[in-house]
């Protein structure tokens, strides 16, 4: 009983409208939980609520019924017995008549109707009762939005779940629907309403006889909504989009073919609307209707539809109606005119459905025939008016759409129009005896006629698309009419196309374009349809090749021909046309041989472009082309080594660049080229091995660098297994050189003799090539590759880096980056480090080393050299640069040894290191100079270590990169360098330290730096001012400025910015006139805008200074800087108003 009294309390609290909504929800929840736990049978609840459900007070009755309905809604998964459901649904159905308490009845009906099978559902007879009550009692349009929505949902639910009940109600339901939907304006309701119409119309597929009026009436209601015009503001909580509504309406339109007599005229009428959206919608509906209404019904409207579609296509308003450039060679069509595109889609559907009828319409169309009759007025592209261009383009599109749709229509189009076109072009059937040679100056048989040419090309293209598409589907009748016609004309067509291209200079670009395109289409007809004689394909290909080889002055025709050739190649590759491939291979050979053909007058860059493009059109072609390219590289290089190469040096550079930048990336993405690459690298080494003396020409820097890059790229693309062989080979060549002074017996005490700069020059040109290429190989190999003799290699690179050979230093860095742990018998990283740091190096002039007290022998190690233990300044610099690259390798893999290197570098920077040199020399000034430049190199070392290099140690070259290594390095280095800066005693030293820190900061991700903004800002500003004095470090300066702008815009560092506002502004106002880089000026101005947001009291004193600097920027030579200046000036001059 206690439960019962509690229940009463809950019921009262829900029914009482003066209670707050949250209380009501809570009591509803309490009641449903009782029901769910079976503590309260639903019958008891109904009995308890009896009074509320039947009260004469409509407010209480409404709340009561709603409570019952809502609690039923929550019980959708709880099994209920049939009798309960029956009595409940009858009750709710009955209450639909009670308009004062409708909400509850609707919710209750919906809750019960939506129940799933298995937990007790409403029977059909009960559903019928609901439907009847609905039809008789509900006046949907007189209700509020939410209730209307519920009504629609109830009807939708009935239609979906109880179609039988609806059917037995009969036509009455349609009147109810009409009444309900009529004048509905709410988008959400409409979405459901459209769906209701769609469902209802499907339920009654054969509404005939007297009900005919109903269909008209329903469509009348529906048709008013077309086209959907939806201007609801975005901010409101309507989540229905115009597209959704439009789609729902479209499904309603096409739900039954019975709508046809009403829908099609309406759509046709809207096609002439001036609203583009309405047009597109009408076309979309039309194509959907075509599919749904069926051919018979559509036939009635064929003429009307055809004429409106034709008008749309003809009047398409695209500005450059016909554009002829390289990009559009893949397809001529409406580039982005949605309306015309949509119209052609409709046409295509109609053709597929009822080819005969629509083809008759096209063939007999007056406008189209008029164009064909007057085709002679379209002689010359440049003389045609815009209007005519539109027309002929439209005709082309229509014919193409027709020809593309079915084989039948393609035949018909060919029969009706092709002979006329051929006639106009003056093309006759070529006898087989006729000689087909592209080079022969055949008399131009055809008459020049742009219109006919354009139409034939576009029809041919459509026909080709049709056959290529259906070649996949095997069941395609061969020897169709169009195939036969084409076979007869193909030869003369090809000849005609060639003649159009050949007249390249006198004719307009359009003719050349169409000629090349025609040739391409003829060459890409599937062999199974068009049994074109092979000689014809060869004839076409030869023609294209001859354009490429002879007509290299004409950019357009050359580009087009190449593109056509590439397209033909990729077509053959894609569809495995083995017969055609044979002919095409000949072309590939011919193009490939261009590279070595001395007679050809073609510019070298064009040759390279042709060769690489043709190669990249298919794997088989590439396999043919690559040897040619490599052959050319070898000939060029050997020429270069031996004779000093007669040709211009840039050709070799271009060749190498083409190979590395175009061919190698392509090869990298396809399989089966490993062997080729491997052989290429080995052959380069063989070549060098054989050639003992290099000519002086070889010294040219461009070729040297390009060769190194090619070597690196090629090696990095090879597989791991071939790396071993390559390294073996390279090592063999290197060890045979005389500079390779490794002596097995003196492992522990190798002396490096004559280590002074003059020695570097003694390295012969060949030696330098060999050494650099070896370094390139080492930079690009996989970490797992086995080196033949690690110690010897390390020695070699050590020696060379001290002599100033930077690639050796980079190779050494790569080596230490890739060394594994002691796994496969190789020496480990630790041993390598031991060799690098503890090897004693003697120097010819090492008196200083003794006086330093390092030992009584004249030996020192790498660290000593960095400190300047030798007298040679260059040696010191070389050692520092080498150390930097080694450090970079270690840093990237996150090795702890990098600390040692950093300590050495810092030592050089600290006062002690700096003083060494100054004390020693009598000539103070000179020495300070030396010391200063050395210290600058030390700062640069940090730049090398932090920046991403393209030369080595990148992902491409299989480097070992630890995540977040930059952040880590930044956070360890920052405190150290800062301490040094504070302790620094000279201005110069301070500036070098600043520079080092700036390099580190500029490469660190912004987030990491922001945390330290407080400490770093002063250094950052110092560094900026320092860099602004010259233009050597533009990029570092720019990234520092970006860092500063990051700090300025970050909330957390606001305090620092306010504190330092004065010096920041000082710095920025100077940056505003930095002459060497526009981006710096622009960013500085943006930073100043950001500064203007600071508290007024802080920045007011700086205002004049800023405004002066900015007004100078108004006169900047670069526009974007001026724009920023205006913005900045406004921000600063209006600041008193805003604060």
């Amino acid at each position: 009983m206690a439960e019962l009294s509690e229940l009463t309390r809950h019921i009262e609290s829900y029914v009482d409208t003066s209670r707050s909504p949250s209380e009501q929800v809570a009591s509803l929840r309490a009641i449903t939980s009782l029901l769910k736990k079976n503590l309260l049978p639903i019958e008891i609840l109904v009995r308890e609520m009896g009074l509320y459900l039947t009260s004469t007070d409509s407010v209480i009755r409404c709340r009561g019924i709603l409570l019952l309905a809502e609690s039923l809604d929550c019980l959708s998964s709880k099994p209920l017995d049939t009798s309960t459901i029956h009595s409940l649904i009858i009750f709710f159905a009955d209450r639909l008549a009670d308009w004062k308490a409708l909400r509850g009845a609707l919710v209750g009906c919906l809750a019960l109707m939506r129940r799933k099978d298995g937990v007790g559902i409403v029977t059909i007879s009960d559903a019928l009762a609901v439907t009847k009550s609905y039809v008789h009692n509900l006046h949907v349009q007189s209700l509020a939005q939410h209730d209307r929505m519920l009504c629609f949902e109830l009807l939708e639910c009935l239609l979906e779940n109880y179609p039988d009940a609806i059917v037995s109600v009969g036509n009455e339901i349609f009147y109810a629907i009409c009444e309900a939907v009529d004048y509905e304006k709410d988008p959400q309701c409409l979405l459901v309403a459209f769906h209701i119409v769609e469902l209802a119309m499907r339920l009654f597929p054969d509404l005939y006889g007297p009900s005919d009026g109903i269909v008209g009436e329903i469509f009348d209601t529906l048709g008013r909504y077309f086209p959907i015009h939806f201007t609801h503001p975005k901010g409101e909580d309507v989540d229905v989009t115009r597209d959704e509504l439009s789609r729902a309406l479209m499904f309603a339109f096409t739900s039954t073919p019975l709508f046809e007599p009403f829908a099609i005229p309406l759509l046709l009428e809207k096609l002439s609307s001036s609203l583009p959206l309405a047009k597109i919608d009408a076309l979309k509906y039309l194509s959907h209707c075509t599919l749904k209404y069926g051919a018979d019904r559509m036939e009635k409207h064929a003429v009307a539809i055809w004429s409106s579609l034709r008008n749309i296509v003809f009047s398409s308003s695209q500005e450059p109606v016909l554009s002829f450039d390289c990009e559009s060679v893949d397809g001529i069509g409406f580039s982005d005119d949605d309306i015309a595109k949509e119209a052609l889609t409709v046409l295509e559907k109609l053709f597929m459905q009822n080819s005969v009828l629509f083809l008759n319409l096209i063939v007999n169309d007056e406008d189209i025939n008029l164009i064909f009759d007057n085709i002679n007025s379209y002689m010359n592209f440049s003389n045609i008016s815009l209007q005519s261009k539109r027309k002929i383009h439209g005709v082309g599109c229509i014919l193409a759409t027709a020809a593309r749709s079915t084989v039948f229509s393609c035949n018909r189009i060919f029969e009706s129009f092709f002979p006329c076109l051929m006639n106009t072009l003056g093309i006759s059937i070529l006898k087989p005896s006729d000689n087909m040679s592209p080079s022969g100056k055949h008399a131009v048989s055809g008459t020049l006629n742009f219109g006919a040419l354009y139409l034939s090309v576009i029809v041919l293209e459509a026909c080709r698309d049709l056959t290529v598409g259906s070649a996949q589907v095997a069941s395609f009748p061969t020897h169709e009419t169009f195939c036969c016609m084409l076979e007869r004309f193909s030869a003369s067509l090809a000849r005609d196309f060639i003649s159009y291209v050949g007249r390249g200079n006198e004719t307009s670009m359009a003719d050349v374009f169409l000629g090349v395109k025609g040739l391409q289409i003829l060459a890409t007809f599937p062999g199974s349809f068009l049994s074109m004689p092979e000689s014809l394909l060869e004839y076409i290909l030869t023609a294209l090749v001859s354009i490429i080889t002879e007509n290299f002055q004409g950019t357009l025709s050359w580009n087009l021909a190449l593109k056509a050739l590439v397209n033909v190649g990729s077509y053959i590759e894609k569809y495995h046309e083995s017969k055609k491939e044979i002919s095409y291979m000949v072309v590939v050979e011919k193009i490939g041989s261009l590279l070595t053909a001395a007679k050809c007058m073609m510019p070298y860059s064009r040759k390279l472009e042709a060769v690489s493009e043709v190669g990249m059109s298919g794997r088989n072609y590439m396999l043919k082309v690559v040897p040619r390219l490599e052959e050319a590289i070898f000939t060029n290089l050997s020429d270069l080594y031996v004779n000093g190469y007669m040709g211009p040096a840039e050709n070799t550079v271009r060749l190498l660049e083409c190979y590395t930048n175009k061919v190698l990336p392509w090869i990298n993405n396809s399989e089966g080229f490993d062997e080729v690459l491997h052989l290429f690298v080995i052959n380069i080494w063989n070549q060098i091995e054989c050639c003992k003396h290099f000519s002086t020409r070889t010294e040219e820097k461009d070729i040297f660098e390009a060769t190194m890059k090619t070597m690196k790229f090629a090696v990095s693309n090879c597989s791991e297994t071939s790396h071993n062989a390559i390294v073996q080979k390279a090592y063999a060549v290197v060890s045979s050189c005389h500079f390779f002074s490794w002596n097995e017996s003196a492992v522990n005490h190798v002396e490096m003799r004559g280590l002074d700069i003059s020695h570097e020059l003694k390295l012969s040109i060949r030696d330098r090539w060999v050494l650099s290429l070896f370094a390139s190989v080492i930079m690009a190999i996989h970490p797992q590759t086995r080196l033949p003799d690690v110690r010897a290699t390390l020695w070699l690179f050590m020696e060379m880096l001290l002599k100033g050979h930077v690639p050796s230093a980079q190779a050494l860095g790569s080596l230490v980056n890739k060394f594994g742990s002691k796994a496969n018998g190789q020496s480990t990283l630790d041993e390598a480090m031991d060799i690098i740091f503890n090897t004693s190096i003697s120097h010819a002039d090492s008196a200083y080393g003794i006086s330093m007290g390092i030992g009584d022998k004249s030996t020192m190690n790498l660290a000593d050299l960095c400190f300047g233990a030798s007298n040679s300044r260059l040696l010191q610099i070389n050692a520092i640069v080498g150390l930097a690259w080694i450090g970079k390798g270690l840093l990237m893999r996150g090795h702890e040894k990098v600390k040692d290197i950093v300590m050495i570098l810092l030592e050089c920077l600290s006062s002690k290191g700096g003083r060494h040199l100054r004390q020693d020399s009598g000539q103070e000034n000179c020495e300070q100079d030396v010391s200063s430049s050395v210290m600058t190199y030390v700062a640069d070392a940090f730049h090398i270590m932090m920046s991403d290099s393209e030369v080595c140690l990148s992902r491409r070259y299989h480097a070992n990169i630890r995540p977040l290594y930059k952040q880590r390095f930044f956070s360890t280095m920052m405190p150290m360098l800062q301490a040094l800066i504070i302790k620094s005693d000279s201005l110069f030293q301070r500036s070098v330290l600043c520079r080092a820190l700036a390099y580190i900061m500029s490469e660190t991700p912004l987030v990491a730096v922001l945390g330290e903004a407080k400490k770093l800002t002063p250094v950052l500003l110092d560094a900026l001012l320092m860099f602004s004095k010259d233009n050597l470090d533009k990029d570092t300066m720019y990234s520092l400025l970006l860092l500063l702008s990051g700090i300025l815009t970050d909330k957390s560092s606001q305090e620092v910015v306010i504190e330092n506002a004065h010096i920041i502004i000082n710095c920025l106002t100077r940056m505003v006139s930095y002459p060497h880089m526009m981006l710096v000026r622009e960013t500085a101005l943006q930073c100043l805008v950001a500064m203007s947001m600071l508290p007024h009291s802080r920045i007011y004193p700086l205002r004049t200074q800023v405004l002066q600097a900015v007004s100078r920027a108004l006169d900047d030579p670069k526009r974007s800087v001026r724009l920023q200046a205006v913005r900045c000036r406004q921000a600063w001059s209006s600041s008193p108003v805003t604060t």
Binding site: M1078, L1114, D1115, K1118, R1119, S1120, R1122, V1126, R1129, S1134
Partner: protein, 154 residues
């Protein structure tokens, strides 16, 4: 000042699309009419919540510039012949250009020939340094000009 609007129902034109300049670092970035037009097109009309561009008071073609001599000439077309707001529009243009270009540019502002009943005197007034300075000392005028220049109504 007359009561009520001088042109109560002006013809409003569509805003032209802003063309983004190509990002060519080596382009010749000399001051051109479009750059000037971009600065002044969004100035609000003193009477209506429309920009000068929308009311067709200004167009790119009506601006000429000679960077070498440092001269800018703007011809604007008032919406009606008897517009008494021409001087305010002229002041706005002058103020805006003063903010946007370095002082060595000499700015001439004129009404288009035949577009105003009082063309000659208006042109004279618009290019009279002292009268411009005096006008801008007037707090009411100053406020009106500032509203036109920095209005966010558009």
């Amino acid at each position: 000042m007359t009561l009520g609007l001088i042109n109560a129902n002006p013809v409003v034109h569509a805003k032209k699309e802003r063309v983004a300049r190509s990002e060519d670092p080596h382009a010749d970035d000399a001051v051109d009419p479009l750059e000037i037009y971009d600065h002044v097109r969004d100035i609000r009309d003193p009477e209506h919540p429309y920009s000068l561009e929308q009311l067709s008071v200004l167009s790119e073609e009506s601006i000429t510039v000679d960077e070498k001599l440092g001269r800018i000439l703007i011809m604007f077309t008032p919406t009606i012949q008897h517009c008494s707001m021409v001087t305010v529009i002229g002041l706005c243009l002058r103020e805006k250009l003063k903010d946007c270009f370095p002082p060595h540019f000499k700015v001439d502002i004129k009404v288009a020939p035949g577009s105003h009943a009082d063309e000659e005197s208006v042109n004279k007034q618009l290019n009279d340094k002292e009268r411009v300075a005096a006008a801008l000392e007037n707090p009411n005028l100053r406020q009106l000009v500032d509203e036109c220049l920095y209005s966010s109504e558009l």
